[in-house]
Symmetry: C2
Subunit: 601 residues, 2 copies
């Protein structure tokens, strides 16, 4: 049976030592995030994820969700009970606002919970995960009445939420949506249409499901400027605030998917369902992006999660399975063969897993801190800076994080040889589950265009220039330390590649925007590589400082330094190759027309 141990030590290292969360104690909400509180949340939730969520992950894959003839949906064995425990312990409330029953603590702690959940059981994690997205939209755009009606119970976990964007003919291009919202005399709207790929659209885990739905009012512009957002509860909330009359929204079917079988991916039919507008008419896209940005960070965390759990299992297998002998001579001569851990190619894969997951964890938690600073930093300038930086990082965390997360999960499966392909070992599920994260909440191609087409250019490139300054300063400082200097020099080289690629875009994309489109995916990867490099430089710096104090657990810090060196050796070189591809531009990419792609007989 697959294992999962929450990486609590590493998480505390990032939060307490790398991010030094205590130094933000003067900001609202941070004061309650004391080191003791952080330890408690990390350790207790780690235990819950490992002991409650992980054991039902494979069951969820094997059983999937069942839709009954009445449209109701049953989740896999154990999911409902686990969600009951999650709700009762209040895990979903940690970083939500106190005025709606949350604990008001930093998003950094909310991200810890998201990571451990997504790692232990990605399909399960999507039920509270989508709820978090819907909560964000209601906090930002809901009326006070809507907030009061829905938020406390969504935050407590009594009710869950969904995001209804996609329709059969329209995913990325939301201007094409056809779902209609007809205004009614009582101020509500009658919502009619079909939405597909609705994660957690119907299930048996909560008393009500609050759907946030994009639809068009009559006469709305025929583009993304004509979309409005509506809240459509499964049960209309009665005067006492309880689920009342059943609304006209039903699950038409459940999709058969490659993975995340434990989550009900529904076709949702809206048939004159009662809905209420959230925010302004025709401004639904902005509200949608609030949900989406929260969701994209959550999806990036899923990339980390599946890589992490696959890595842990690969390590265990590599230490147990014996085949062949070390190239340098038998490591355990008394046994008939050595553990495959001794083979450099196996170790390469494990080190890739270790370097990616620890680097990505640091990036996600830093990203969470930026989200906090967006709201809570003391000055408007600091808030704007954080906002620009997390805007730049969001497509990188989502796009690079999930591309690499999938690749790492695949490599960890490879460590198992033939057993990795057999479902009972669990590695196949990690790969299949990881695969969706590259696709949903905006495919990684969309992430790349968001990064290169929007974020790079915003405010004359202020955000990326600030990023370059920040990393340049950290490299310069690190060069003054003999332990860190060799790493900093390698990172500087990769940074130079990114800067050159940025310059190439500036000089060529105006003349032909296809140059940008043909290189965007590569740019996103370059930036992911450089950003994880920055995380590793920061972790190496903290480790170097810690080691100077001869700490008790010196081996933890020495391991950090060794892994940082591996990262610089083995991840950074790709930045150069990607830059060369990018600089070949769109000419050869776009040279061929439709007919050239036909299979000639």
């Amino acid at each position: 049976m697959p294992i999962y141990n929450a990486p609590t030590r590493d998480t505390r290292f990032v939060i307490n030592e790398m991010l030094d969360l205590a130094s933000y104690g003067n900001l609202p909400g941070f004061e309650s995030a004391t080191p003791d509180m952080i330890d408690t949340v990390v350790n207790e939730y780690g235990k819950f994820a490992s002991e409650v969520l992980a054991p039902i992950n494979q069951i969820g894959d094997q059983q999937g969700c069942t839709r009954h003839n009445d449209g109701s949906v049953t989740t896999p064995d154990g999911f409902k009970e686990a969600f009951d425990q999650y709700r009762e312990s209040g895990w979903g409330t940690i970083s939500q606002p106190e005025e709606f029953g949350g604990q008001g603590m930093p998003h950094v702690l909310g991200f810890v919970i998201e990571e451990f959940t997504a790692t232990a059981n990605q399909a399960f994690g999507m039920y509270p995960g989508l709820t978090t997205g819907a909560i964000s939209a209601l906090i930002a755009k809901g009326s006070p009445e809507q907030q009061e009606m829905y938020l406390p119970k969504m935050i407590s976990g009594e009710w869950t939420g969904t995001m209804n964007l996609t329709e059969p003919h329209c995913g990325t291009d939301l201007g094409l949506i056809r779902t209609k919202a007809e205004p009614q005399a009582d101020g509500s709207y009658a919502i009619t249409g079909t939405k597909i790929f609705i994660s957690a659209g119907e299930h048996d885990m909560a008393d009500n499901i609050i759907h946030l739905v994009l639809a068009k009012t009559p006469g709305a512009p025929d583009s993304t400027k004509g979309i409005s957002l509506f809240v459509v509860p499964k049960f209309i909330v009665d005067e006492d605030g309880n689920p009342g009359e059943r609304n006209g929204v039903t699950c038409g079917s459940i999709e058969h998917k490659m993975g995340i079988h434990g989550n009900a991916t529904c076709v949702m039919n809206y048939d004159d369902a009662k809905g209420w507008m959230v925010g302004e008419e025709n401004k639904g896209l902005a509200a949608m992006f609030i949900m989406m940005n929260a969701a994209r960070l959550g999806v990036g965390i899923q990339g980390l999660g599946q890589a992490e759990v696959a890595y842990q299992n690969a390590v265990a297998y590599a230490l147990d399975r014996r085949q062949g002998r070390a190239l340098t001579g038998p490591a355990e001569p008394e046994a008939k063969a050595d553990p495959i851990f001794v083979h450099p190619d196996v170790r390469r894969m494990l080190m890739d897993g270790k370097a990616f997951t620890e680097g990505m964890r640091a990036l996600c938690l830093w990203g969470a801190l930026l989200v906090d600073l967006t709201h809570k930093a003391q000055t408007e300038e600091e808030r704007a800076e954080a906002d620009a930086l997390i805007g730049l990082m969001t497509p990188v965390i989502k796009g690079y994080g999930t591309d690499k997360g999938y690749a790492i999960a695949t490599d960890m499966q490879q460590v198992f040889g033939g057993h990795g392909y057999i479902e009972e070992w669990g590695m196949s599920q990690y790969v299949r589950d990881a695969r969706i994260a590259q696709i949903y909440e905006g495919t990684n191609g969309i992430q790349a265009m968001d990064l290169c087409g929007r974020k790079l250019a915003q405010n004359g490139g202020a955000a990326v220039q600030a990023f370059f300054r920040m990393i340049g300063e950290e490299i310069a400082e690190a060069k003054g330390n003999e332990t860190l200097a060799p790493m900093a020099e390698k990172l500087e080289k990769a940074l130079n590649e990114q800067q050159a690629a940025t310059m190439w875009f500036m000089q060529n994309a105006m003349q032909n925007p296809n140059h940008l489109g043909a290189g965007a995916h590569h740019y996103m990867h370059i930036m992911g590589i450089v950003t994880l490099g920055l995380m590793w430089l920061r972790m190496a710096k903290v480790a170097t400082e810690a080691l100077a104090g001869s700490p008790e657990d010196a081996s933890f810090y020495e391991t950090k330094l060794a892994t940082a060196r591996y990262y610089m050796d083995r991840f950074l070189p790709d930045a150069g190759a990607l830059r060369h591809k990018l600089e070949s531009g769109a000419d050869s990419t776009m040279a061929l027309g439709e007919e050239a792609f036909a299979t000639a007989a």
Copy 2:
């Protein structure tokens, strides 16, 4: 429903124009492979693959194989009937020796059949595919009686074959096998043991199944030097050459796998089964490698196959699905959105698919020609040269071809967005099926060690030096042509990276073999990139020459040139990054011990 059209034009281009098969007409068997015969085989088998095998591919995935209580196994609907047709048309006989009922034509044509089969229906293809491997071993090592008893019916397809190597505790390290072979008074052996992961181990498609089984005779050395090969028929062949008494070999269970559900992957229990030794005692490993080398090329073809069918479907989807607008302005202003084909990031993925599959097809067919020349070239020197070259190429075709095949299949699934994740669209199956090819017949890590640890060093590096000379000469020649020169220069740069990496191994691996092990996987990829570059240079040369004659289908050749340019722009740069990783050596890869990989609490 997913589509597949056999790429007959491209196949004829490679065989007739790039390989110029007609120029080998003086060699035995090649004289019957006239252009007419080639056209007939390519077109007729292409039709069979597209019309008979492809339509049951998804059925095979959904139904899988069923084991009944009596140990019998039923294959998915349509598999038996399709194999009946395959057998009746004699497709399996094309490149088998005439003395055993084959048609004696070049392996090049046999490879065409393998490719189209593996592309249309990989799980189906494994039934005749494993048979081909078993036939190779019997041709090379079987006694005349064994050959007469088994080969005609295996070649005709009346019987199928299997390869039984792996045991629960032993896959790569065959020295660990425990299956016993006790000599009997009648000259046969009693085989007892358990084999796992036996593809096509039991099924309902043929009258007999001929298992080739590795086992140990009493007192055999406790290493790979103590392995012998046995032929163990499911039904013992009677005096008339027909299946007689049921032998003591049964299917204990079928594995639940990530993909290739249509193939029965069996646990095979041998309980005093009657077997006969093939070749000499304790020389089973050499016989096994004959099967294995044939199988490895076949697996490389599977990498091509799944990339190809995924690519064809991605092209169709990209031309059909409309989302968003071209970056350069609406391509079809009258429609509400453009086909996603207009987006550079989609085109990048499709061009990756096109450049890989056409390059890989050329490599596989050239590999097949080398196999032919190994046996049939006129001089011993030519035969030895071909043997060394295909020895070098086999791990590249298998390892690079399947790693990249999986990556391409994944990207083609990405083109579909959310629909790619839904099973009914078929893209998930291609990815799941492609995944096994990186694992079986020696994981790709083993391929990398075969390439770097054995093949590079053999005969003082003669094979790789010959490869460098060959490609160097072709580059030099191409530089004299203005169309080809820019491509040749880019390829030369990648070749230089490979040569530098080779030199680095020579200078460092003796001192520490882990330097070789930690870089082997990267080296295999560098060599794959360079070799496909050579294929593209060759194809570009042929296309340039053809265009000089103003041919009717000039667009075919212009497309080849454009795709060659794309390959040089977008595939070759990775060679440099891989070399840098390789040259970082084993130090950071092997720095950490077992305890550093534990998840600390």
